[in-house]
């Protein structure tokens, strides 16, 4: 769609990880003095405890996120996802623009359903392999997740907030980060981060290894 609403959805899909990164300080907006007065802690909703089964979530991260990132980067991506889920404010006002006059609200908390899905992976592992999801070998984990995603709609990664399954939410959250885009593009573009204006006139430099990407470029 050419609508601004469509644009917002697309921007959201591109950007959730960017914001999480900014929150943890990796690619925070680095405005000059006039914006330095901008407080980063203003209006933050109280974090909620989502209570994910972390070993299972890490194991899910091992399935969904590229192994080439390295273990540390994958754990960091899972932590960023948990941070993002924890800070979600259910039914907050959605951004409205042109194109519709009604005020819309974000969805209710997706965390309970995602917790249940994670628990479901664990239960299924116990049922068919007599062990926890986290203890499964990589092939078995992938088979279980593939089964869970069999009926997931569409062939595109969704916007993480609207993901129908926690596996999709996790990978979509990572894929929306500037680091993931840099990896895919092989270049230092860092979408949705605040950058020097005139650096944009040059061809982006090749993507350099960083700790956040497990040394991959």
């Amino acid at each position: 769609m050419s609508s601004r609403r469509g644009f917002l959805k697309a921007a959201s899909a591109l950007a959730a990880g960017a914001a999480t990164s900014a929150t943890v300080g990796a690619t925070a907006c680095a405005p000059d003095q006039s914006a330095q007065a901008n407080r980063h802690d203003a209006g933050a909703p109280r974090a909620r405890a989502t209570g994910f089964n972390r070993p299972a979530l890490d194991a899910l991260g091992d399935v969904m996120l590229p192994a080439s990132l390295g273990n540390d980067a994958r754990r960091a991506a899972v932590t960023a996802f948990v941070t993002w889920v924890d800070a979600y404010e259910p039914v907050a006002e959605e951004m409205h623009g042109y194109g519709y006059a009604d005020v819309r609200y974000l969805p209710s908390d997706p965390a309970p359903a995602w917790r249940a899905q994670l628990d479901g992976l664990d239960r299924l592992a116990s049922k068919i392999r007599k062990t926890s999801f986290a203890q499964l070998d990589a092939t078995s984990r992938e088979a279980i997740v593939a089964s869970a995603l069999r009926d997931a709609p569409g062939d595109r990664l969704p916007s993480p907030l609207y993901a129908s399954h926690i596996a999709l939410a996790l990978v979509a959250h990572w894929a929306s980060s500037p680091q993931a885009w840099n990896l895919a593009l092989g270049a230092q573009v860092s979408p949705n981060t605040c950058r020097q204006l005139n650096d944009g006139t040059r061809k982006p430099l090749p993507f350099a290894p960083t700790a956040a990407t497990g040394g991959k470029s």
Binding site: P31, A87, G200
Partner: protein, 538 residues
């Protein structure tokens, strides 16, 4: 005992606090010594200090950075494409994109040049100084296009936002297609200016700029209030203007606070200015009907609420044999006015053209071509392949001639807490536009096909505006003109029937061109402000 309504006295009352109101107030504050009071129905906007955080939450979740920027019971209905329920200090322009093209000279002489629509009561050249003033007050960064396509009296106040790497590639492609393009003029600072920061490509201009590089009206209000040049009353809804039945002069504005107490107020003034946009300005005039003005104020012509104007678009995504890096500066674009400045032909057609980088079609996938889920490195490898190449987005807004019955009316089926009927809006093309629409849209589609071919690319998605829901960058409802029988206000924005009532900006416009309208709304408002200032100091 009925409580006496609070009464405020002022010289100039401005209704509304959006972008036109803010810059009109700034002009008036500099050019008169009159006391200026501004009333805004909504609340103060999100403070600048909170915008980095608001941006982060918008990016993370799609949360509105402008919470509580609306009144739940004060809204418009009908074909409201282009309308926003935003009602707070700064209005919709708190989340505009900052795109600031001028209309072209032809827009002001459509009837004379093309035999469609109506001429404006002034020319482009007469508006040029007010365009310049608007650009200077907002801090517009722009590139002078070819003089024949992009006439202007003086240079832009700030250098252009640079044509970035992606746009350089796209500009080469457009040139091959025979199209002259340049950096889209934007109210985003290419260098620090007036206490505001240089743009940092944060790419959230719409809906929130964290650095202050993008102009928003709160900057002007903050300065005017701090220096005590205006009094800004928030959460105050003007519900009626009252006119002297004999002279027609507006005597007072009455209304209620929109907070829980809802206290009534009255404001007396010498001069009244409606700068509340294309919905709320005519709405207030219609609400203000009385025995002497049974159809509403300023409405002897029956045209208050009429001739709502806007434009529609055709939009396409193309794959091109280039190497682009989506995300360098997604919200910046190339613009062309080549198709706005056209000679008269058998069939009327004018449009703008914008070109952007895009990530559409280059995102990661859930499934591979075989339908199986992609995991981990397989997903990344697939994404890396998909990310190569280039997607361009192109869009043309085309001009729509408004019908007299393209209008806003009071709708008794919807009322606010005070029982006032809300507006219902129904856009309607003039017959000449309605007849041309399919052909015009096909012309745009054909242009995009030609452009794709010139670059050795292909279109993979193309669609028209998704509306018969309304039109974009809407204007009208209090159109200006020299003949009181066919217009609501004169060429300076003064109501034909009420010598001390003025309408500023978008609602006074005759038509809406085929490009983003905000700069013109402001320029037209500044022209009105200059007339008010001149009269006030006489």
């Amino acid at each position: 005992m009925k409580r006496q309504a609070k009464t405020i006295e002022t010289d100039i009352l401005i209704v509304g606090s959006g972008i036109t109101a803010a810059l009109m107030a700034a002009h008036l504050a500099e050019h008169t010594t009159r006391q200026i009071t501004v009333v805004e129905a909504g609340k103060p906007t999100t403070p600048f200090a909170e915008r980095t955080r608001a941006r982060e939450r918008y990016l993370a979740y799609g949360e509105s950075p402008w919470k509580q920027d609306h009144l739940d019971d004060q809204n418009a209905f009908g074909t409201t494409w282009g309308f926003s329920p935003s009602m707070n200090v700064g209005g919709l322009a708190m989340h505009w994109g900052g795109v600031s093209p001028r209309y072209s000279p032809e827009d002001f002489r459509l009837k004379s040049l093309y035999g469609v629509g109506d001429d404006w009561p002034f020319t482009y050249d007469e508006l040029d100084p007010f365009y310049q003033e608007a650009e200077e007050r907002m801090g517009v960064s722009g590139e002078q296009g070819p003089a024949a396509l992009d006439p202007r009296g003086k240079p832009y106040p700030l250098p252009a936002l640079a044509v970035n790497y992606n746009l350089q590639q796209l500009q080469g492609w457009a040139t091959k297609a025979g199209i002259a393009t340049w950096s889209t003029p934007s109210a985003k600072l290419s260098q620090a200016h007036d206490g505001r920061a240089q743009c940092q490509r944060c790419d959230t201009c719409y809906p929130v700029c964290p650095s202050g590089a993008k102009y928003s009206p709160d900057f002007t209000w903050d300065a005017l209030v701090k220096t005590k040049k205006v009094t800004l009353l928030t959460e105050s809804l003007v519900r009626r203007l009252e006119a002297d039945p004999k002279t027609g002069r507006i005597l007072r504005a009455t209304g209620n606070r929109t907070d829980a107490a809802g206290e009534a107020f009255t404001i007396t003034a010498k001069t009244f200015v409606l700068a509340a946009g294309f919905v709320w300005s005519p709405h207030l005039l219609l609400l203000s009907r009385d025995a002497a003005h049974p159809n509403g104020l300023a409405n002897r012509s029956g045209l208050v609420g009429g001739y709502l104007a806007g434009h529609r678009n055709v939009n396409a995504y193309l794959r091109l044999p280039l190497e682009l890096y989506p995300g360098i500066n997604v919200q910046h674009s190339l613009v062309s006015k080549q198709f706005m400045r056209v000679p008269r032909s058998a069939r009327y057609f004018r449009h703008d053209l914008r070109i952007w980088e895009s990530s559409v079609g280059r995102e990661p996938r859930l499934r591979g071509d075989d339908g199986a889920p992609l995991f981990g490195d397989a997903m990344l490898a697939d994404w890396t392949q998909r990310a190569k190449g280039a997607t361009a987005r192109v869009r043309g807004y085309y001009d729509v001639i408004p019908d007299r019955d393209s209008k806003l009316v009071l709708d008794a089926g919807h009322a606010n807490r005070f029982g006032d009927p809300m507006p219902t809006v129904a856009f309607k093309d003039a017959p000449e536009s309605a007849a041309l629409r399919p052909w015009q849209e096909e012309q745009l589609r054909e242009l995009f096909r030609t452009m794709a071919k010139a670059g050795g690319g292909e279109i993979f998605r193309m669609q028209n505006s998704n509306n018969d829901l309304g039109q974009e960058h809407p204007t009208g409802g209090c159109r200006m003109g020299t003949d009181p029988a066919t217009s609501v206000v004169d060429g300076w924005g003064r109501a034909h029937e009420h010598e001390n009532l003025w309408v500023g900006g978008a609602p006074a416009q005759v038509s809406a061109s085929c490009c983003n309208g905000t700069l013109t709304f402001v320029a037209v408002g500044l022209r009105t402000a200059s007339a008010i200032a001149k009269e006030s100091s006489a």
